[in-house]
Symmetry: C3
Subunit: 258 residues, 3 copies
């Protein structure tokens, strides 16, 4: 903080178990990676190298090292996991992870059909060697999953060994937990929160309105993902009530005197 | 100019009193700041460190110096002013401004309720020590202020000592002087322009369509704000009729011969 | 590729005659240009310095050299050509091109009215000295051109000497071959493809949904243009079926075994 401002909401600090910010890197150059960590390291807990971009990224090992030096965890997008699975190449995927010394892995089925027991088996198996993010929800627009199914899948995946479950929204923020117009499925999310521990869920929330909505619902320390590199600092101001969208929410805590 | 092209519209140059471009910096790294000034210094008059981002920005003093070296004025977003005011900490805000040797200050009430006389008093007081941007308009969607009230507030704030009044639009360009779909409130804006000197107003215009609309209405030297760093050069082409959206407007001035 | 993944679709490599990616540079700094070429050189065939931005870009010669060093072709946006033509200054435009040793030129009439025979004469003349991109389609929203006219214009411009014809969409992706909502004019595009060689057409496709739509229709090696610098790597994953949007399309080619 460049100046002390009393009455700000409580905010966790790194290494965070709750209040995580997960950033999506879609192919940043090494220097853009340095730009990101130079200003956002304190507010960035995890970086996802989105979908299959890690396969195409030059100097991947160097980039991963830059994040590691800034104390930021990294993992490859779930769609890449699925591209290996669809080819029956799970062992190759593990070799890919190990070639780059990955500690985290995302296990998802947003683009493929996979028996849920099989998914949980993979989570169980991989969680022996990696910290697992598992993702629930389809990438397909218009696919509606019953809240009870969201809840049972999330809880089973956590029991199978996932560290966090990710609630799908895509980079666009228009599927899964959101309607095509980007508005949240309010009833669904409230039902999930009644039955799954909130700190175990990472909500994909690429749009500012979605970030503000979750902070309003859950508080400063919601776990929020698919954040654009340019939005990390703005998101932190939302968490602290220092931007219009969440300004009012955090006002009642203030000592208001003139 | 890399080549002489005759018949371009007149354009003011720095230091500008009219035709200002105000850019919103939401947390650029030092190197991104250098990128901006290296290509956009001639076209950027003022940089706003949006809402509360300045509090969280590492190396803030160095960043401010980079802008100063490029002859670009800087100020902190009005929401931060309001966060101090809501806590009754105006003197602390002045200490924050002075700690970073700020010459400009934004005084706004987009997120708080403030008596307008009180706002004008603060403008009056702070304008002794700083150059004041004051902002008119609510950040809340759907809030409609009568044109006469816009006009009287703007004129009173100018009389109280504001250098420019800013017409609110937010970063989204969907409130204040715009409808929720981003279209301008045409009648409102024309009424304001009939009663408030145009060169004293800074129109927030984050979207290209909004920038083109104001240039069409007012001309090349409209004061336009909340411009994204990536849009400074594109905006300059709009001002000069070198982009499709304003190409036709500036054609009649050309000697058309083949 | 950082790891071998079998069963990916065939993809052309540089120097490409088909499967081109054309990126729009709206005023990148030299360092941002370096960022782009450092990660995207293999996937970027051509860079357009959009509309009139080249006139305003500092260090233009250095920027062009950075692209050349990365084996990336460059040209100035067609609106700038039109700004010279509207002033009757074609010879000056050639002097501008030659001052910067440009090998490529775009010839368009999106913002001016030009007799089509005259346009083809200019294409014919300039193609003696430059490699010509010619562009078909209006920049104006709501202008509908009959498919037969699209086809005849495209074929005549190719006969006159254009290397590729560009199908207009603007940076917004809402005119020309798209509806105002960004959806493709399906019938129009299919009629064009039935009568104009597909590898001679560069489709402007700034939105991800548009890129995915063309890859679905034409395959991995569609020529796609007006790509944002940040979207080059993501587009390449679309071409390879490594992102949700095109994942299914390329699955049938896989040997599916577990």
């Amino acid at each position: 903080m460049n100046f002390e401002l009393p009455g700000l909401p409580d905010r966790t600090s790194k290494p965070r178990k709750n209040g995580l910010t997960m950033v999506m890197d879609k192919g940043l150059s090494l220097r853009q990676t340095l730009d990101l960590v130079s200003v956002c390291a304190d507010y960035t807990d995890v970086v996802k190298l989105g979908f299959g971009t890690s396969l195409l990224t030059k100097d991947l090992a160097k980039k991963l090292q830059l994040y590691k030096d800034a104390d930021i965890k990294t993992y490859f997008g779930g769609t890449l996991f699925e591209a290996f699975i669809a080819r029956g190449l799970l062992d190759d995927y593990r070799r890919y992870l190990d070639k780059f010394k990955m500690e985290y892995v995302e296990i998802s089925d947003g683009s493929i059909l996979m028996n849920h027991d099989e998914k949980c088996e993979i989570i169980d198996k991989l969680s022996d060697d990696y910290i697992v993010f598992s993702e629930v929800g389809s990438k397909e627009a218009g696919v509606i999953i019953h809240p009870n199914k969201w809840i049972s899948m999330m809880n089973k995946e956590l029991e199978a060994g996932a560290w966090k479950v990710i609630a799908e929204a895509r980079e666009s923020g228009t599927v899964g937990i959101y309607r095509p117009n980007g508005n949240a499925h309010v009833a669904l999310i409230n039902k999930i929160l009644a039955k799954v521990p909130g700190e175990k869920i990472m909500w994909e929330a690429p749009k500012k309105s979605q970030q503000a909505w979750f902070i309003d619902l859950i508080g400063s320390n919601a776990n929020l993902g698919n954040i654009s590199p340019d939005d990390v600092i703005p998101l932190e101001t939302l968490r602290l009530g220092l931007r219009g969208d969440t300004f009012q929410k955090f006002l009642p805590k203030l000592v208001m005197k003139k």
